[in-house]
Amino acid sequence: MTQTRFNQREYYALGQNYRFLPFQFMQFDQNRKLLVNEVGEYLFLSNADFDQFVNRKLDTVSDTYLNLKGKHFLFDSDSRAPFELLALKYRAKKSFLAGFTKLHIFVVSLRCEHSCHYCQVSRVSADRALYDMSPETAQRALDLVFRSPAPEIKIEFQGGEPLLNFDGIVRIVEESNRRALETGKNVEFVVTTNLALATDVMLSYFREHNVMISTSLDGPAFIHNANRPRPGNNSHELTVQNLQRAREVLDFDKLSAIMTATRLSLQHPREVIDEYVLRGFQSIFLRALSPYGFAVKTAKTIGYSVEEFLEFYKEALDYIIELNRQGTNLVEIYSQIILTRILTPFTTGYVDLQSPAGAGIGVAVYNYDGDVYASDESRMLAEMGDQQFRLGNVTPTTYEQIFGGDLLRTIVASSSVESMPGCADCAFQVFCGADPIFNCATQGDMVGHRPTSDFHKKNFAIIKHLITLYESDSEIRKIFWAWIHNVPLNQLAIEEVAA
């Protein structure tokens, strides 16, 4: 064999008349543009390279050119490959749409013995007949749930304090399991509870029926009790005791907690996080207050601006990363969700940040009185007197009217970032989502106005911050990947360094 039998590289070269594939871009910092394509792959270009690229003057044998081509920002032949691959990746990014509504929230009781400052909905009342979901309502709601084409269904018990209607929960679990068997669907359960009323009987039932528990922990006692008043002012003590008790009965990973940040929390990010570590949690979700319900009335005392929240978020994230560096495995869930979208070809099932919005097509809420809402926030808005996201009621309205009606179609059409002003050309579009209910609550219509939107400010800043952190430090890179995979840092394969 002689070398002459082989063609030289130039023979295979392409690159005359390259053309663009769809992408968004932004001035990331003074010197660099960030380019993000339709499926979330990103690339930084110097301002000079960017100019060359968009003016189609880029040297077609340069690394920059090949990088842009390899990541599907341009194409230069009639090969089907870039289009096939983009189509498949696009489908993967939108795969949360498959199956339609998966999360079904049952407000089994609106009653609660807590009176939290930020709570949107609950009532301190003993009137069961008025504020508990009746067995008949539950049955009819399940009729709707099992009409959903989703093969995997998640039923979440909400309140109020759902344990005040434990019998209702049991009925729904049993009936769902029966229907799941009948229809070949898979059903998961989660109960959102403050645990204060959790008896051993309840905990054993949850273990036997594989019901997960999501509870509230806002931080150490002085924060938690200030945020979550109840008679005796002992919410923290009860939560900690009951966590302990619940963990003795349930598997560790069946129990998680969420925090809601108030003005007080904002001053103590480290204390909040330390409390989560102290109580043995391996994840924390840094959640801002919602602009609904009681939180609006008390905004002056517990509220804060989005800028203040972002400052808190960044400081808290720094501290969490620091803990991870020191060997404590603690995942910040919101970052995990966004990082998964940025760094992997996959998507997340997080209904509060997707496009089109998850309202109705990813989640539905069955209120204690049978009203069906497009999301948890929708019913909170309704409690404030705005009924516009009420899809119907389990009694007179049919599945088709609720899930195929004009209202839900309007919500979907108004919550696709691909077409929303200010989002359609945003570089972070693929990583982000829309919240038409938030827009209505704060700006008066579903589409909203991006330049003055707190939703936009918050997510834009967080996404940019996460990319900056990821690009800044190889150890942070590893920590973020460990979060994405939900594994301890030392279990990332590359860290298994031979002695």
Binding site: M1, Y12, L14, G70, K71, S79, L88, K89, T344, A493
Partner: protein, 383 residues
């Protein structure tokens, strides 16, 4: 490793493929597929029914009553259960060794690519008729064989017959894992991928090479325009029909530069790959004539190799490094290094003799004996 021998044949009218037995078989029925290896001076008790008898004697004292190959030197390398080919000219070639984990079928010598570094250069011949030998082999090898390779050339060039052959393996060797080396190009045709998926083999893996994230680069390495497009779409078709795939990347002077970008391309476009192998080059075949264009001391591409491994592993892909000696690999990469070189072409050089990690190290290809990294040296300090 001895894989062939030559003797003198008597009464062997056509070439045959048979199963080795080193002891006489009592049942005449089982002799019809067997070749008796007879290194003894005494006469076998009963010669009837064997495919052939092999003996090292140049002039056996006994009278042959079966086709005979005599004067075969050193028969001891053959063991019961091996499968051998006997030519009418007395040529004895091993097709299958029961005790080896590295058995493979060279399906065809034809190929539709012409890779710069091909270790098994293709031949433009019509060798379709050899598929009969492959079927014969499948019928003879031990059904407990854990793994069998299918290589070439490009095995899929036999198209439907390739799929039928896989189905045959499924029937005859249901417990044998199949590892097929293919460029995957023909799976660009979705129907072909569907057919292979329908063969429903319980344990098959297609090892498919990809050399760049950019089509023109890959096409240059495999010397075929459009190959990248065909392979990448083919990979997706295979995934769609549930056929497990492995990506194989040979690292050399033309591929190491964009290794990290290729790794990222794999994580974003081929996340379904069951395994990614980053492989050192075998110094044989076309490599010898393209040495100038291909050779780079592996020590020089360690940064790219480490970066690519890191990208793949952190993204959750199962990644291995093949054909690299531990002494030239970054310590962080040791957990990814596998002893990947088949036993029959695996060597260690003088420098390896006192090395403390020789047993964990995959060593070198026989073909690298003269040309290998200038930085191979015994690892003496494990601290």
């Amino acid at each position: 490793m001895k894989l062939h021998a030559i003797g003198r044949s008597i009464a062997l009218r056509q070439s045959v493929i048979g199963k080795v037995t080193t002891t006489e078989l009592s049942e005449i029925q089982s002799r019809k597929d067997s070749v008796l290896i007879w290194p003894h001076h005494k006469e076998p008790q009963d010669q009837s029914g064997y495919l052939a008898i092999l003996t090292p004697d140049s002039r056996p004292s006994w009278e042959a009553r079966a086709p005979l190959i005599h004067s075969v030197p050193k028969l001891s390398y053959l063991s019961t259960g091996d499968v051998i080919y006997l030519g009418t000219d007395g040529f004895v070639r091993t097709l299958y060794r029961r005790d080896s984990p590295h058995n493979f079928i060279l399906f065809t010598d034809q190929c539709n690519s012409y890779c710069l570094m091909c270790s098994q250069p293709p031949k433009p011949i019509n060798d379709f008729s050899r598929i009969r030998e492959h079927y014969r082999l499948i019928d003879l090898i031990d059904p407990e064989t854990p793994e069998l390779g299918i290589t070439g050339g490009e095995p899929t060039l036999f198209k439907d017959h390739f799929v039928k052959f896989i189905e045959h393996c499924n029937t005859k060797l249901p417990n044998t894992a199949l590892h097929v080396l293919t460029n995957g190009r023909l799976f660009y045709y979705r129907e072909f991928a569907r057919q292979l998926g329908n063969a429903n083999h319980p344990d098959i893996m297609l090892g498919i090479p990809l050399y760049s994230d950019v089509d023109s680069e890959h096409d240059y390495v495999v010397q075929a325009k459009g190959a990248f497009e065909e392979t990448v779409i083919g990979l997706h078709h295979l995934a769609r029909y549930g056929v497990p795939v492995e990506i194989r990347v040979v690292v050399h002077k033309q591929t190491y530069g964009r290794l990290p970008q290729l790794a990222e391309f794999i994580t974003r476009n081929l996340p379904f790959a069951a395994h990614v192998a980053l492989m050192g080059m075998e110094m044989t075949g076309f490599v010898n004539s393209n040495s100038e264009a291909l050779w780079i001391d592996p020590i020089e591409y360690q940064p790219e190799l480490a970066a690519a491994t890191d990208i793949l592993a952190t993204a959750g892909l199962n990644v291995s490094i093949y054909n690299h000696q531990l002494c030239i690999l970054d310590h962080r990469l040791w957990p990814f290094a596998r002893k990947s070189i088949s036993d029959w072409k695996n060597i260690y050089i003088d420098a390896c003799q006192i090395c403390k990690v020789r047993d964990q190290c995959g060593g070198l290809f026989q073909s690298s004996e003269k040309k290998h990294s200038a930085h191979i040296r015994p690892v003496l300090d494990l601290a």
